[in-house]
């Protein structure tokens, strides 16, 4: 009962235009029609407004496109480089480039690494079969930047664990000159020596899980030292790099910084070039001289290590990341003239004069951007007499398969059969992962 007067009240303005108020149901119907028409008009108005807004937006877009086009047309003589704008606004703009390497592996050895002996070649440095089972590899952090107009600096820290203790090591920390004339540059600090091929390359760029036997035994996996290096790139079309290093020589093969801390000298020559667009090559000879005092293998005296290396890469159309073959070999000749002191029996001093040799040959077939596979043959030739005399020459064969998800991550499977001495053989399976985070690295050939 209450509803009707209310309804009438609300209808009043509409009805006022028409007939006098009445309870006739026709009025209600008429009223509903008017309301519907009004609603209809509102919808049309809304639609018109929406269409107008759309038209305005389209006009704005058109104008913007025109502006952009004329901008790109006018950009003709445009002021150089809007390229670096926003990122320069904060205090981090001059931070060094940071990159990080993460790696880990599972290894299974049929011969207990504790009982592993390489005849004629005592294990030194980081050389050796490694550990059984799951293990975090060396995690690296590398920082690099131009220091100013004359110098570039880089530091690489390696984190590893040894018997449950975390160890931090300065793998590299050096400065390079940027402004020497005539293709000369000077490097000072701690760095990997430029002898051979693999030595100056970081392990994460290797094709195999571990370094060749010759690297393990003659330079303790990788020769890094404090010192100075002076390379020179010659002007001709053929790539010719000549250089030398003066090193402190704390580590194997010297052991103990003799000669006032400049006990090691090296010299190297690298040549390289292309044959057509599908083939590239790099070859070198190097020599390392050291005056060792109680080195890790018990040697004191004069040591000269000669290296020869050769690399050949073939890739269809020169696209090395999408296919092709890489062949590489290195040869080591180690000449000693000194004495051997056994750590267990220090009273017994023996003469150590003689030569040992080592070599490896590897071939890697890049199937496509994601997959590559390779084979490596390792060989060492022991001394015939002297304190390290052995009739057995260690031999190892390795096969690997690598899958890359991108240039920043990979998984690697490797099988190695190692015959380190006359009685033992070690069948090893490795599964390794490797990842690069941060700044996009640029690698050596």
């Amino acid at each position: 009962m209450l509803r009707k007067p209310l309804l009438l009240l609300t209808l009043l303005p509409a009805l006022a235009v028409g007939a006098a108020p009445s309870a006739d149901p026709r009025f209600d119907a008429l009223d509903a029609r008017i309301a519907a028409l009004e609603a209809n008009a509102q919808v049309l108005r809304d639609q018109a407004a929406a269409a107008q807004a759309e038209a305005a937006a389209a006009r704005a877009e058109l104008q913007q496109m025109r502006a952009e086009q004329s901008q790109s047309k006018v950009a003709a003589v445009a002021a150089p480089a809007p390229a670096m704008s926003a990122s320069n606004a904060n205090g981090n703009a001059f931070n060094p480039a940071i990159s990080m390497i993460l790696t880990g592996q599972y290894a299974h050895h049929s011969l207990d690494p504790e009982n592993y002996q390489r005849s004629g070649f005592p294990l030194v440095g980081e050389g050796g079969p490694g550990e059984q089972g799951l293990k975090l590899g060396e995690s690296e952090i590398s920082l690099s930047a131009n220091i100013d107009d004359k110098f570039y600096g880089q530091m690489t820290l390696a984190f590893g664990s040894e018997d449950g203790e975390t160890e931090v090591g300065i793998e590299e920390a050096y400065i390079d000159t940027l402004a020497l004339p005539g293709g000369l540059s000077l490097r000072a600090g701690r760095f990997f020596s430029n002898i051979g091929y693999l030595n100056s390359h970081h392990a994460h760029t290797d094709a195999f899980v571990d370094r060749p036997l010759a690297y393990q035994d003659f330079v303790g996996n990788q020769s890094g030292a404090d010192g100075a290096q002076l390379p020179w790139v010659a002007p001709p079309d053929l790539y010719v790099e000549l250089g030398g290093e003066l090193l402190r020589g704390d580590n194997y093969p010297s052991g103990g910084a003799d000669n006032d801390g400049v006990g090691v000298q090296t010299a190297f020559a690298h040549l390289g070039g292309d044959v057509g667009i599908e083939n590239s090559w790099l070859a070198g000879i190097s020599v390392l001289r050291s005056d060792a005092v109680a080195a890790e293998d018990g040697f004191s005296g004069e040591q000269t290590l000669y290296l020869a290396d050769a690399t050949w890469k073939w890739a269809p159309r020169g696209n090395t990341k999408d296919g092709g073959v890489t062949l590489r070999g290195e040869y080591f000749f180690d000449d000693r003239d000194g004495v051997y002191v056994d750590a267990a029996v220090p009273e017994l001093v023996q003469a150590w004069r003689g030569q040992r040799r080592g070599a490896y040959l590897e071939g890697v077939y890049r199937i496509n951007r994601s997959w590559d596979t390779g084979y490596r043959y390792d060989r060492l030739w022991a001394d015939q007499d002297g304190p390290q005399a052995s009739d057995h020459d260690p031999v190892r064969n390795s096969l690997m398969l690598t899958w890359r998800n991108s240039e920043f991550s990979l998984l690697r499977l490797q099988y190695s059969r190692d015959e380190p001495n006359a009685d033992d053989s070690d069948n090893a399976i490795y599964l390794q992962y490797q990842a690069t985070l941060g700044a996009h690295g640029a690698h050596k050939f």
């Binding site: 790109s72 950009a75 293709g183 790539y239 040549l271 292309d274 790099l282 090395t320 991108s406 996009h440």
Partner: protein
């Protein structure tokens, strides 16, 4: 006495032989071609890569170090396209002249780049923080780059400044005459849709008003996978794409696979100078590109 004077004159003229020409190291064929347009034989030119190589993935090989060693000017795309090899080449060659400053000319620094990512995450693939570096297929940008490059050549080699100015004027005239012709020819392409192999065509497509509806690579720099390609069949058909575009250096298999299943033609475009027989210089590159695209209309 006379002989002596002659000898002295000869010696003098030998000394006055013009200083050795500027050595220019171009990272990509398009910048080599542009340098040739602007400098002719006034410079010695080394081009580091060919149209059949993926310039994202070059190695710092010895032959390139030797060429970098003698360079006075490096002309490259920039925007991190060459991040994996150019810095290594410069450092190993010991040539500081081209590390920065006037000896380093980056094409993307001369123009506004497109496709600047709003978020930097390698989970999105190989993204370029400074925008898409493949600027060579927008004629207006190429003209802007040409002007800046001519100015740089003149700055480094003032003795030949007149040559660079004159050659730039000549190039600009021919180029500006060519642009309307290309635009008129390309008019029927406007509004059409394409699927591309890698997002390397954004400047060409923006210029021509062609829409990109998909990429064969699931993410930039990640090779096409069968799962991702299968997902493209529907969209390629539904939007009646004009073509599937790959560059001469890319593996055509993925594009052909999709073409077979959709009936949309797979086109191999030269992408840069030398990418096919017609693309002998920059003009030929544009002619060839438009010929291929217009061919798909028929």
């Amino acid at each position: 006495m006379k002989a002596l004077i002659w000898a002295a004159l000869l010696l003098g003229s030998a000394w006055s032989i013009p200083a050795p020409a500027l050595n220019v190291f171009a990272c990509e064929p398009e910048w080599g071609a542009l340098t040739r347009e602007l400098a002719g034989d006034a410079v010695t030119l080394d081009v580091a890569t060919s149209a059949l190589q993926d310039v994202h993935q070059i190695e710092a090989k010895p032959s390139l170090i030797a060429k970098m060693r003698r360079a006075d000017l490096v002309v490259c795309s920039g925007a991190e396209l060459e991040a994996g090899w150019l810095p290594q080449l410069i450092r190993q060659s010991g040539n500081s002249k081209v590390a920065s400053g006037p000896g380093s000319f980056m094409a993307t620094d001369q123009v506004v780049t497109l496709d600047k990512p709003s978020e930097l995450d390698r989970a999105a693939g190989d993204v370029h923080p400074q925008g898409n570096p493949h600027v060579q297929l927008d004629p207006y940008r190429v003209l802007a780059i040409a002007k800046a490059l001519a100015a740089r050549l003149a700055q480094l080699d003032p003795g030949n400044a007149a040559v660079y100015t004159q050659r730039l004027a000549d190039f600009s005239t021919r180029w500006q005459a060519a642009i309307p012709n290309w635009e008129a020819r390309a008019a029927p392409l406007k509004g059409r849709k394409v699927v591309v192999h890698h997002a390397s065509w954004v400047y060409l497509l923006t210029w021509l008003g062609v829409e990109q509806i998909g990429t064969l690579e699931p993410k930039p720099g990640v090779p096409p996978t069968s799962g991702h390609l299968a997902g493209l069949i529907e969209i390629t058909k539904a939007q009646s794409a004009l073509a599937i575009l790959s560059a001469a250096y890319q593996d055509p298999k993925a594009g052909e696979w999709l073409a077979e299943r959709t009936g949309v033609p797979a086109l191999v475009l030269p992408f840069t100078v030398g990418g096919d027989d017609q693309a002998k210089d920059l003009f030929g590159l544009y002619d060839a590109t438009l010929d291929r695209l217009l061919g798909a209309l028929k």
